[in-house]
Structure formats: C-alpha cells, structure tokens
Symmetry: C2
Subunit: 554 residues, 2 copies
C-alpha cells in the first residue's frame, strides 16, 4: 500500500492553498479588517480562541482534528493580485485604495498559534487553539480556521465513536465518498475517519494522498451485468502451484456447485446463472482476491451457493478465496448462517481455507446499529460504513466558534444576555489534571500569567457553567494541554501524518476513563476556571454593568 511518496508534502501544501484560498472566507472579515485599518488598529496585538460549546452526538468527549491543514493554510496565506482585484469590486466604493496595497502585502509572519495536539481527546468550552497576531490578520483567518477544524474534528469524533461501538478488533471500512458534501468533503471524511479509528477506505484518492489502506472488490452492478456462463472469458485458470496446463474452471465449478447443492439442500433451479458467471469471471481475474457481494438475488438460494462453488474450485487450484460481502437484510443473522455453511464446507470437503474466510457487512450502518451488532451473535469481520459516518447524521456540525479574548494586552469578552454565548476573557493556559490512575479528570483553564498547578497540591477552581460553586481538587499529575506549533509565520512543531495522529487518538482515548467514553449518557468531564480567571471574569461583568459615565463626561 504505497502512498504518493516524495512530493506528498509539497502537493498537500499546494492542495490546501488551492482548496483554501484566502478569499474562501466571509465578506465581513474584510469589511472589519478595513475598519480596523482605517482606525489604525490593524497592527494591534490581538488574541482569538477557537472552541466548541457542546460535545457532539450527546457524548462526553470529542477528538480534535484539522490542525495539520490549518498549519499549511497559515503558512501559505497570501493574497494574489487577482484576489485583491476581486475584493476591490465587492468592497464598498468608499474603501481607500491603500487598503488593497496593505492586503497585497499581508501574510502570517506576525501570527502565532498555540494548539492542542491533533488527535487529542478534548472537551466542550476548552479553548483548543489560541491565535495571536495583528488584529486585522487574525480576524481575517477566522472562517478558514473554523472551516478546517469543524468538520475534521466532527467526523473524526464520529469515527472514534463507531470504533468504540465496534470494539477494538473488528475491522472498519469507510465508504462514504458518494454521500459526502461533494468531492473534497469526501476526501476530508476519508482522512479523518481513518485518523479517528477506521482501518480502511474505499476512496482511492485518499489512499493516494494520505497512504490510507484502500479496499473494495465488486458492486451489484458487476453481478447483474452477467447473464450467462457463456460470458465468462477465459474459461480456464492455471493452478497456483503445480500443473501448468489450464483447467476448465467452469466445469470444475459446476461440479462443485452440484456437490454444494447436495450438501446444503440447494435447488439448482433457483440459482442465478448470471451471478455464477460474475463470480467466476472475477475469480479468474483475481483468484487470490475473491470476495464477491452475495445478495444481488438471494443469499441463501443463490449467492452463497455460487460463492462456495467458485471458492471450492479456487481451493482445488490452490488459491485462497477471501470471503463474502453482505449488503442487505439482517446482517447478524445472515453472517451466522453464512459462517455455519463455511464450517460445514470446511469439514465436509476438508478445505481449511474455508475456516478463515471473512464476512464483510455493509448496509446503512449507524452508530446504534453498530452497538447492537456488537451485542448480538454475529460473524462479521469487517463492517463498512458510509452515509451515517461521513454526514454525521445525528449532528452534522460541531459548531466551532472563534472568539476575541484580548486586544493590546487587555482582556475582551462578549457579555451576552444569553449566558451560553458569553465568552471567557484573557490570554490563557490550559492544564489537564490526571488522577492517581492516570485518568484525566479536569481541564483547568488559567490565565497565561499564572503559575501552573502542581501535582499533589490542592487547588481551588470554578467549574464552567456552574457560576459560583467552588471546587477543590488535588491532581496526581498535570500536563500542559497546548503547544506552540506556529511561531511568527513558521511551523515550529513537526507536522503529523494521518497515521501518527491515528495512533495519538487511540492513546488519548485509552487514558480517558470509561465513564466519560460511554456513548450514551456519559458522566460529564470537568472543565473549570482558575480562581484568578474566575475573578477577572467577575470583575469585567461587574464593570460592564456600571461601566460608563462616558456619555455625560463630555
């Protein structure tokens, strides 16, 4: 399984630049940038934070993804002459022409990004990214960063939940390309579901770009395109290890089909000849990769019998058939029936290859049906998931936001009448506190200037969204959650490959206590503000309610 090798990184950078040009943003970013520029505030140091307000899918956690693309985006952020000309045509005529000169010279050389590592387990309301730099520039980055993190994290989290539902051993295949939000949505889905715990993808381009193992054999259309054994060409196959003379594989298979029918009580009159022809042609083309879809007509009356006959013929010629795919009906029950037939054939015909045949199930799988599948008796080795994985049916958006928290060293906040929409002001540090068993139990959001919490030392904090209830905790370990990954225009932390981030997801999930990982009604994980930050918040709120004699002062 080779990924595009040497030039991959450069190609990905180009691809991000093409997919996320600096015009792929909301118009108001430019009108605001202009107003800042006009006021002379565009160079003021500012800090934005990116976070989401609720864990998705009613769960207790999320997985953070999209950082890699954000870094490539920041590194290549620059306006072309053509971009600027277009902006000239859409911004109000009052716009000073010098502003366009300013835009033409912009890049991210003044921008610094602190971020949670990609692939980490994260929680609602914890600031995941901190973007600092000149006010006008960091404002302009908003929409693109949200766009790159939002779906990547959502679909990665969804994949993580499917993985938890499926258990660690079952293989998971992503096959959602045709149901995604267009071509790039499909590519993003393939990449981040792999990161979130899927093993394989059907998407060839995702294999090409990201080195994800690709899988797939045949669709129903292949099966229904055949109607008779006369269409099978060539009709012979050379045995794998042995006689160089071609064997008439049609006669061989017909012989096996009779024996299979006798063994299993199959009715020859109900067996589809077209299906047998399709299976045979495929097996002749790929004798070592025979894994047909067996429900185009009837699994029990046709597909399974045809499969066994062809697979037995292959075994006789020393090839190793791979397995079958079921794509409709009750997958669990059918897989049990199919496995029973495999065992019967193995014993009756003494073909040990039938003991290791795999059964692939693909039929509109949801998280819930994956949970049920895992509880019920079944023999499914590989599950393919499409629509519900890539579209995140249950909650198709994570709702990430990007909020201003500091300008010119002064904390800023939005004090909304809706407390859910208020923000936490100031530049921060985030620590993850672990208990004696190594499980994280609290994310502590502090002011950046505070000294970090210490292991074994009691501290007081204020759980978020609980107003003034103070909590005392003693962490057994403390880790700093975010790292500086982009400093003044340069990527300062190695970019992780999809494979590396995929490992990070599993190690991060492993440390999380099962009570937070429960798919339904998990215990909620603690997120709290430090005493100092809580104090600042209270002061600003107080200040805002009696802030101004400005109106009367002049």
């Amino acid at each position: 399984m080779a990924a595009a090798s040497s030039d991959t990184r450069a190609a990905m950078e180009r691809s991000v630049r093409e997919r996320v040009p600096p015009l792929l943003t909301d118009l108001y970013q430019f009108t605001m940038a202009y107003a800042y520029w006009r006021t002379g505030r565009h160079q003021e140091p500012a800090v934005f934070e990116l976070f989401f307000r609720d864990n998705p899918f009613g769960g207790g956690f999320s997985l953070f993804a999209g950082l890699h693309d954000c870094l490539l985006f920041l590194r290549t952020f620059r306006f072309t002459d053509e971009d600027v000309e277009f902006l000239r045509s859409v911004l109000p005529p009052a716009t000073d022409p010098a502003f366009f000169q300013f835009l033409r010279g912009l890049d991210c050389s003044g921008v610094t990004l602190r971020s949670v590592p990609e692939g980490s387990v994260v929680f609602a309301r914890v600031p995941l990214m901190e973007v600092s730099g000149p006010l006008a520039v960091v404002q302009l980055l908003e929409t693109s960063l949200l766009c790159l993190v939002n779906y990547a994290s959502l679909v990665c989290s969804n994949a993580g939940r499917f993985r938890l539902a499926a258990g660690p051993r079952r293989k998971l295949l992503e096959m959602g390309l045709r149901r995604a939000q267009g071509p790039d949505g499909g590519l993003t889905a393939s990449r981040y579901t792999h990161v979130g715990g899927f093993d394989l993808t059907s998407n060839v381009q995702a294999g090409f770009l990201y080195g994800i193992p690709v899988a797939g054999t045949m669709a129903h259309s292949y099966v229904t395109s055949f109607s008779s054994l006369e269409e099978v060409r060539p009709q012979t196959l050379v045995a794998r290890n042995g006689d160089p003379d071609p064997v008439d594989v049609i006669s061989l298979t017909k012989g096996w089909l009779r024996r299979v029918c006798e063994l299993l009580g199959g009715e020859p009159g109900k067996i589809s000849e077209g299906e047998l022809a399709a299976f045979l042609s495929y097996a002749i083309a790929y004798p070592q990769n025979f894994l047909p879809v067996i429900d185009s007509y009837s699994v029990g009356r046709s597909g399974l019998l045809n499969f066994c006959a062809v697979a037995l013929a292959l075994c006789e010629l020393d090839y190793r058939p791979v397995g079958v795919r079921l794509d409709s009906g009750d997958l669990c029950r059918q897989s049990v029936d199919v496995r029973r037939v495999f065992r019967l054939c193995s014993e009756h015909f003494s073909v040990s290859a039938f003991d290791s045949l795999i059964i692939v199930g693909t039929n509109n799988i949801t998280e819930q049906s994956m949970v049920e599948l895992n509880k019920k008796e079944n023999e499914i080795d590989v599950v393919g998931v499409g629509t519900h994985l890539v579209t995140c049916t249950r909650q198709p958006s994570l709702g990430c936001v990007y909020k201003l928290v500091e300008v010119r060293g002064r904390p800023r906040m939005k004090i909304s009448e809706d407390p859910e929409k208020s923000t936490v002001p100031g530049r921060k540090a985030v620590y993850r506190l672990l208990d004696a068993e190594g499980h994280p139990f609290l994310d502590l959001v502090c002011l950046a200037v505070e000294s970090p919490p210490e292991a074994g030392v009691s501290l007081s904090c204020y759980p978020l969204m609980c107003d003034d209830s103070r909590l005392s905790v003693i962490p057994a370990q403390v880790t700093c959650l975010r790292q500086e990954v982009f400093t003044k225009g340069r990527v300062t932390h190695p970019l992780s490959s999809a494979a590396e981030t995929r490992v990070k997801v599993q190690t991060s999930l492993q440390t999380l206590h099962p009570r937070h990982k429960r798919l339904q009604e998990p215990d909620s994980y603690g997120v709290a503000l430090s005493e100092e930050l809580h104090h600042l918040l209270t002061e600003i709120r107080k200040g805002s309610s009696n802030n101004s004699s400005f109106l009367l002062a002049n």
Copy 2:
C-alpha cells in the same frame, strides 16, 4: 458585483479536474473494470441510470443540481501516469500490466449522457441521468457522478424549501461556510443554495467563482474589540454633499445619543462605550454601508440606542445608514421593537432614511423556525442561514444511486429480496405529463423504443411501488424530461451558469401544484411505468424465478 470574468470557465474546468481527479472514486470500480477487461467485456455498450429513492426532508419534490460539474468532469476524465502508477500499487499483483496501458488511454469519448436539465423539479425513483458507453468506462464514472449530484441536489432542494418557507419577497443570505464539510463543501453549498433560491452569500470565493452577490458587515468580535471612544480614529467625517470641513463626529453622535436616550428612556449608564466606539469607527470607514450587529451587549439597553445615535449623525451628514443585524434571542419580537424605534426616530427627528432601514436576522435558523417566522408578526427584511442550510441537518444525504439497466442491448436488473432495492430494467425515456392548468401531475417512465405519449390521448400505466394497480390518465400536455447533453465525449448542450439555473429552479417550482410543494405532508406526485416497461419488468421477474437449468445442462 463582478464575478471573475473571461477566464472563469477555464478556471472552473481546471478546478473540477483538480477537485474530482479520476482516482477520487471507490477502489471496487477499478477491480470491476479490470475483471470486465480481463473477460473482454470492457467495450460492451452499457447503460447506467442515476436516481434517488425518496424525496428529501419528508417533502414531495427535490431539485436536480450538479449537472454542470458532471459535464466538466466527463470532459476532463483522464488518468495521468502518476494516477496509473498509484493504481499499480493498490490493485492485486495478479493485475495484467496491459490493463494499466488501457487505463492510461481511457477517456469519455465513448460516453453519452442524457439528463434532466439542471434546476428542474424532480421526484423520487425517476431516472435523472442516463449514462451510456463502454461498460468499463461508465462503471468507473459511478462514484464521481454520485458525489457531484448527491450533495448539490440535496442542498439545492434544502435551499428551495427555505425559500418556500420564507415567501418570495424576503431576502435570504447563506452564511454556512464555517459549518460545511470542509472548504469545498462550503463552496458547493454557497453555489447550490444560491441556485435553490438564496439571494446572497457571505462566501467571498463563491462570489469570485460564481458571481453570487456577497454580503456582510461585522461580527461580535469587532464590537468587543473596542473599549473606549478614544480608540476611534479619525474622529471626524466630511459631510456627503456639502461643507468640505471635517465634522467632529464623536461630539455629534454623543449629542444624538442624549436625544435618543431622552426619546426612548435609555439609561446612559447601561450603554456600552466600546460598542459605540465600534459602531462609530465602522461608520467613519463606511458611512454609506452602516449595518452593525447590535446584540453584543444588550439590544434594548445599548445596541439599538448606539445604532440610532450613529445613524442619526450619519443622516445629519447626508449619509444613508443601511440597517441592523440581530443575532440572538427572539428575532421576531426584537425586530418589531426595533422597527417601532426606527419609526419613532423617523417621526420625532424627521429623518426619512429611518423608514427604509433594514433588519437582518441571523440566529441558528431552521426550516421550521423560518416557517414560524413567516407566520408571526415580524419586521425582518433579510434572514441569514448557516448550519441548518449547508449541513441539511434534517437529512444530510440524498442517497442517490447509479444502477445498471442495460448491457449489449439486453435489459438488466437487480432483483433484491428487498423490493425497495430492486431496479427497473432497460433503456428508457421519461415524460412529464401536465394537466389542463399546466401543472405536472405524473412522470411516466417508458422504454426508449416506445412512441411518446400524446396530449389529449388516454394512456394506461402502472404507478411505481404499487405493484399491479393500473391507472388511466389523459395528459393535456407532454414534455420530454431528459435531453442529450453530452454525446460521445462532447458537451452538446450549453452549460448553464448558476444564475440561469437559479431562474430555472423558480420557473420549475412555479408550475408545480401547491399540494406537492407543501413542506409538511405534501400530496405525493405520481411516477409510473408504461405498460410495455411494466410488462418487461414482470417478464424478467418471472424469468428469474425459473431461469436456469444451466446447472444440469452440462
């Protein structure tokens, strides 16, 4: 509002080629193509149909979109050496090297596409596209065509429903970029929601590529970035038509704010100075485009008062303020309050500009809240919709499928144990039958070889999914639903622009009877098979149940 001009078409073609490379497909398309090639069947003429099984969102219709991109995709479909090398690494080692030569030479010069025009109202189970050509090639096109039609049609249909819910006059603004499935998902959403009936987008790149009018002014972060009037620079503005001497606009606004507070009973102590500073800076930068978001602190106690003061100052200097945006809380109630204040100011201060101020509402709008908004008293002129529009929360996938219906002139079908998943065999023509009022009432699917139905002549047909209940109808008019748009590798029908397709959507929707357009529990629209097609279907079903003595024949 200028779109990227002369080179747009070439750029779009390039962009489709980059976004939809021929590797962006499922692996099984290649393994099947190989097996066809190996069997010598790859050049056999084959026909596939693209359709969906259920109208989305519980509705009675869908809108067909994505054709334009499909045509560009077909026109540019070709494998590079690099593509082929990658395929060599992922296909089974048994693959004959000559197959890769074959792939390298492939294009769509043998492919013909008949399609419903883009922007048409369409219905479940009607074959929308017919793709014919060499078996291996039309098989390889499956995933890409599905990917291009599925989301485009879904989000276009969603936009069409929002338009119906909003009524014809209210302006609709799409602003979902940050919540879409990555960058390209966002771009696709902007394009096809415009086609479906939205007027404006926040997405600048969509304006650039497709000429969609873009809109936007400021976010909360702009407002909260200001804390005092000292940050306002310059503090003067020159009147629009008149005295060239700059006016101290801060003093002017403060004076207006006092008068506004007197008129409206505002408490100066509750007014945010930072918000006033933000509004003033913006108004000084864009005095003819003043439309601030007024709920960063409190609409009634701060935002509205600050807006009125700045807007009155602008009016005094002969500028024309545009309006306000509300982004939280009960939009209807607030809009009524805001309008009342505008009228009061207009009368009290004799400023007629206040009579034409617009109110923009944006707050997590769903189709349901749009319906309610349309029923309740409100004064909202423009509604912005993001998440629920672009993610199609209620049903995030249309579930288009691509099914083989004919090979070498012989009809093919999948006879599933699940009747929902069975297909209708044979090459077809589709006619739309209209009643005397010009409303379509039935889509009739015939065999291609049949003579078309005639206006005023009674015909018998079999409604789909109703088995054997025969129906007689007399159409007042008959139109042929599909056109040949791509013939043997060439686009043979003019490509429609987004604007043209947008018009088509509205004219197509207008002919549809209101009973089918109801958003909830619509009357279902008729789709039926001709007698000949129904006869063929019955024959094939019968044949399949007693098809084969093949097993015993040899």
